[in-house]
Amino acid sequence: MNKEKLVINTIENENRVSTQNLMQQIWDAISDGCTEFDINACGQHNIGGSVWSKDGSDLNFYIKNPGQRVGAMGAKGTNIYVEGSAPADTGWLNSGAKIVVNGDSGDTTGHCAASGKIYIGGNVGTRSGALMKKDPKFPAPELWVLGSTGSFSFEFMGGGIAVICGLDCEDMPSVLGDRACVGMVGGIVYVRGNIKNLSDDVFLLDLDENDIEFLKTGLKTCLTELKKEEYYDKLCNFEPATTPWHKIVAKTYEERQKQNNISLKTFRVNKWMEEIGGSIFSDLITDDFQSHDLVQTGDARLRKPSWKNYAYSAPCEYNCPIKIPTQKRFSMLRAGKIKEALELVLDYSPFPASVCGQVCPNLCLNHCSRGNFDEPLDVKMLGSLSKDIKIEPVEITHNEKIAIIGSGVAGISAAWQLRRKGYYVEMYESADKIGGKLSQVIPEERLHKEILETELERFKSIGVKIHTSTKVTPKLFKEIESNFDAVIIAIGGHNPVVIPFEGYERLIKGLNFLKDAKNGKKYNLGEKVVVIGAGNAAMDVITEVYKQGGVKEVTAIDIREPSAFEKEIKAAEKLGAKIMYPCFTQKITEKGVYLKDGRFLEADSVIISVGDRPIFDFLNKDYLDEKSRIQFNEFMQTQNEKVFVIGDAIKPGLFTNAIADGKHVSDNVIKFLSHETLTPVKEKDLIPSKRIKSEYYECYNSNCDNEQNRCMSCGYCRDCGLCKQSCPQNAISRIEKENGKYEYISDPNKCIGCGICAGLCPCGIWEIEWCQ
């Protein structure tokens, strides 16, 4: 039903009709069946929007001078023709209307249009076509513009088709203004003309056949609607070489996810390192830029293990001044090599039974790893077992002759080493027997005569020429100096030190007292005895004092903490002696000892035992310093390069220190005689106690009667194979070598440096270190 066209003039009685009243007129007319509207508007808004006829027939609006939002929310079946231009929001939310604007249209033309068609004969403003979308249940919206758009056009466009013809815009830098299609996710924008600064969200493509077909058909309709058919040919230039037409489509979701930028690696390699000429540090370090896993093998490991068998001293060996490798002896015993084990010690000391087994304080035992666990091994017993081992004399194979002055443990040790290495050795001894303090001073309670004699005999058996009761005079020394290729002074300390307190002449010298006692001489010491000094020798004095009998009270005094070993002190105290310190003696009278702090110690006898000095009366003063001490270097060599000095002649020490000196000096004497460079004493480091695993042992397992099985073999491989078995990478193998020797190695290509081998090794052989 098409009632007559309704003509509305929106000025009534010189008053402008309001948008609401205009709308009311239109709605009323539609209810009455009117479908044609000729509206001479006066800026009223929303004309032609959201209206529909009851019967579904088209509604046609012919409008002049409309306000904003012409055809906004336009419905299907609404046709709007604007003569001239329209302001903003033409076709906003168009949902099916056809809107034809002859002239220009303002901002946001076609904003959110979801269906219908909009034809604009001129230009459109900013943000036109923004958020256009396509509902699949309805035909796609179309926006046709003969001219250009303002900036930010087609922002967030989600669907539909826009055609911007750029007519008469050929000189514009961009027919879409600035930053078109920002956030566009769907739809197509056809553009004819220049485009600048398009968003990254879209692709600019050439037209294909379907596009051209669509445009040809569509432009015909568009130009017909706009009554501008004359431009058809001008717009329809689709020749590939010259066409100004392009198509803008949104990137797909997948394309949007893609990073178009070059990768960081490509940038580093092709730009950064290319420009710089390698890494910025490449002139300082080498780096392949490979990144490594947290667990690695080979060179990339943090740490690496190494099998360091016998690279460290066991505590017994380390603490023994002679460095007797007791762990090695026990290892031999475990292997059933009893003879070899008992002989081995003789390479180090001629006195295993007398010293190790008897008089030595056994520093080896004090530090035995087993002692940290239950009880130290019985090294005394082991030493004693070597008492009767015989040594075959060796032939003299060198021409050089060596003289040794003094036959105490130092001299005997040196002679023992040199003679057994094939050198001719002569010894000079002022006493009538050899053995020095072992023979002359040590009480028999501490050193069985038979044991000492057996070992002295063994020493004599190797063939050293010994001159006893031969005191070396300056004249004899000169002869020795010229007749021998090397001389070792090993005279010990036989001059007891006396401190010149008032009344010092009353003092009994400790060394003389001990020597006398050993020879059976009796002293009448009275009931109360004070011993000045609290070293090991003083403890020997105390023992002897009690042995003399008749003594009721013995006091040892010292200016500092006693230097005697705890064991010796305990023994003295057990006899009843009292040890006091610090005590500074002022004077000695027949009544006793007066101390500087005013105390008085009653004494019938006072014995001084604060050390014994060597007597160098046979040396000319070139050998001595201003305090009459002998001068020597780190190789124990005196001013005269062929004269060496060892033992207590240098510094008071234990028997083991003297034996060690003898052993060490013999090496340097041989080097000297062979014209080799002398070397200082080399010491292996002590194996860290944490590396010895006591967890493998039973505590106080008294049923274990073999000491060798109690030995923890510190730092000395026991070839148990636990490392090989437990390596998680199977990197460890055991290599057989000559003479029954073997070695464990870890394959760096398999090893990850976990340190399980080191952590589990009972003996601490495997060492795990940081790789460099």
Binding site: S199, S263, L264, F267, H292, E695, I752, I756, G759
Partner: protein, 550 residues
Amino acid sequence: MTKVNINSISKDDLPWIVEYDSEKCMLCGHCVAACSFDAIKVDVQKRKKVRAISNEEGFQIDEDQKAIPVIRQVIDANNFCRGCGICTKVCPNGAIKITRNRTEIFGTRYRAKTSQSVKRGGRSNLHTEGRTLDKIKVGRISQMTDPSLDALRHTFDLRTNLGRVVSPDNLNFDIENGELKEKPNQNLPVNTSIYPIMFSDMSIGALSPRMWEAIAIATAYLNEVKGIPIRMATGEGGIPDKLLKSKYLKYMILQIASGHFGWNRIINAMPYMQEDPAGILIKIGQGAKPGDGGLLMAEKNVKLIQEIRGVPKADLLSPPNHQGLYSIEESVQKMFLSMNCAFKFKVPVAIKVAASSTSVSVYNNLLRDPYNIVGGFFIDGLQGGTGAAHEISLNHTGHPIVSKLRDCYLAAVHQGKQGQIPIFAGGGIGMNGNLAADTFKMICLGANGVFIGKLILQIAGCVGNDFGKCNGCNTGRCPVGITTQNPKLMQRLDVDRVAENIVNYICATDIELKKLLAPVGNSTLPIGRSDALVCVDRNVANRLDIQYVC
């Protein structure tokens, strides 16, 4: 028998407890192979079981005694577990994990045992200060008053400036053909447009070469591929010659601190420089350890570092102050003028100080700057991080950054000189993970930009945190290769991945910054626009002169 001494450090005293499940462990060795702190070791555990039963054969006793391999925590004042968690990461069986020991006794034990001060990396672990920035919200939203912008799709200009900005009175223009034109020979100071986030000054030495280069590569990439004009401050640990002579120098802000390390090489490289550096930063102090100088432990002073710094193997302790500087005026004269001269007045010269009660006086003094040579003022707050410091400095010295920045900015406003000497603020920026929020708030409070350090390391894969985890940067044993000079540990770091993570994080931050700019309707940085902020804490609001809301 194992001897237990009540006075020695025990497992209970350590900051982290290693929990090990021997039943699950298959002794693959991965945990011990991967631990860089020597904090766990393989050991033997003795087990003994005695069983008894009385049956028809009488009273039967049998015994099972064996030693089994286990992983044990090392109990040591130096090699102790720092909780980095690498062992847990590599364990295929979930047999080992670490938990924080809730007691804080370790510091006491350590001091008592070693008579040394506690040293570590990271930042303050005390958390007593709270996070001022989190109490501030961006509360002025464009809602019908003015159009807000679309953060994702609209264009923003996020650049700030580095370099002296002169007062308009000092700008002289001619009008030529209807256009303003600068009068010639005015000697206007150099000014550059850069991104408001700067990679803070971490030295080569503190960082591994790989880490340092990864940041440099990320910087170049952000500039050249992403178009984000970010700058990297180099720290003072020497600069590789190759970088000095490359075009990428233009993204680098060279630092001169009290040690002057590596400056001889910079000077020697000058004739060969293709580009000017992006700036010079004179470091007076840093927020993590104000009043203390750089500290590079000997463990990290390897050959490379010795060479580029020109020093022997030793703990490197930079003096706490520049040896020749005694006053602000002297600093301006000596340091600013010299650095301007060295680069022919073409490079902005800025200064970095630890935030202090005295910062405003310093800034006021600098603002006079009659020579136009002070190109920036960097203030570093107490939540800044470091590669090595005495813990007492980290936890107990310093000044929070937020009010200090605000005070300095308002001091400039008071004189009408805001913006003339750009302020950059740092120290805990982004420590809650959100750099954009902190940056935006700091900018609104008056900062021209911020600088970040610790955050970059976390982006790169740092496993540490501010609750005592790891913080072992000073040891040179960084388990992820960031703060180590050990080549094996450094190789754990994937340079490309690190650079990519940094680039990604900055790109994300860029988006998020826009997400804050858009709702307040700014398309450029709202420097000093404190009306954009509101605060849920009345005291903070009063102190910062922003709106209190609840």
